[in-house]
Symmetry: C2
Subunit: 196 residues, 2 copies
DNA sequence: TTTTATTTGGGACATTTGTCCCACCAGGCC
DNA sequence: GGCCTGGTGGGACAAATGTCCCAAATAAAA
């Protein structure tokens, strides 16, 4: 549900600590709600989450928005844009206070080229993301909402994701109204997941 | 619509031709309908399409199936499984006669490690696939079907994809009945896209 | 050619989902 | 307190989608 990647985090931790320059890796803090990347804009930075959670969203008619994924500890932001040299495909916003490493795109590409372990780790990260993204997309189409909702609620029970109902609906790709309806008609389940 | 990647194809073409061994790269032909990778099975091979088209599908209750993407010239199959060492996340089936390069997983990983150009090209390929997959997923949720259908038909007009209506429906994540309905109620458009 | 599947096209009805609208509650602010 | 704003919960109706079922056209097999 909330994607993480401790391998990458460990590598970056070490790199940031070593050498005087820390390989151009900075540490920055952002407060909840801060927009790290705006869909369609040209970002030059790559981030690595130390702590906190962000949501990646995509919108088209800009009235509705779809949540692609929630990223947590060790996850990378802006790599796709750095690699393809294209404007950001999605927006990324902190939904909790955030601590992250930050470095510019060219340094990131350098790292990819020179550090074999890092290269390997990024390759795996992208492969996993790709399978996860594809699977979620497929499941969302194949199963009735009822089923997807059940899965989601189960995942949320121990992930304490600080998000609103609207965000849950956006994640499921449905309207808030539909979400409420399903929660209501749900057999005697405790939806006390909203610990926020 | 049909993903391709000439850069990769060029690299593999050269590799396959050089050296006596051709770096362990074989050329194989498959006929339409052949299953190259079965969801859930453990594949050890990686393929590079020389010509022809395949469809990648995912199914859960195995009665319905969702089409993740159509891959053509230069595209790679089985890389995700080789990289993550996990069983195949989707099935891949030829929907036209096919010619492809083939090599085993460990050779592929070697290539990734030793050949910088190849590494770079694969990195880009995965990044592009990731953005495309995510975007398609998002669009499918955000827009009404009517809109998605229009897009799809437009793409098909010059891509002459040899697939059935059922497959189109599977790609859109809807039932065949729904697809027919939309095609019928469609303003005076010529859906003569079925040149097959 | 006859027979058998596969593919395609659609009617009728049940279900699901969206849209519009209203109401309640809690926290921050004047 | 009163006043806003954002999050929440749900009624009523319209629109979209699925399910079941049947029929014609086309392709494949005998």
């Amino acid at each position: 549900m909330i994607r993480k990647n401790l391998t990458i985090l460990r590598i970056i931790d070490e790199l940031a600590g070593s050498g005087q320059t820390g390989h151009g890796i900075l540490v920055r803090n952002f407060h909840k709600g801060h927009l790290l990347i705006g869909q369609g804009t040209t970002t030059t930075n790559v981030f690595f989450i130390r702590s906190g959670i962000v949501k990646c969203t995509f919108s088209e008619n800009n009235d509705k928005e779809y949540i692609l994924e929630f990223l947590g500890e060790g996850q990378v932001l802006g790599e796709l844009e750095a690699i393809t040299q294209a404007p950001a495909m999605s927006s990324v916003r902190a939904i909790s206070d955030l601590a992250a490493y930050m470095l510019d795109g060219s340094s990131f590409l350098d790292l990819l080229r020179r550090n074999e372990d890092f290269n390997r780790a990024m390759m795996e990260l992208m492969a996993v993301r790709l399978t996860d993204t594809a699977q979620r997309s497929a499941r969302q189409q194949l199963n009735p909402l009822e089923h997807n909702l059940t899965q989601l609620l189960a995942a949320l029970e121990y992930e304490k994701l600080p998000c609103t109902k609207q965000e849950l609906a956006d994640y499921l790709g449905i309207t808030l109204r539909s979400l409420n309806r399903m929660l209501k008609d749900r057999p005697a389940h405790s939806h006390k997941w909203f610990s926020n």
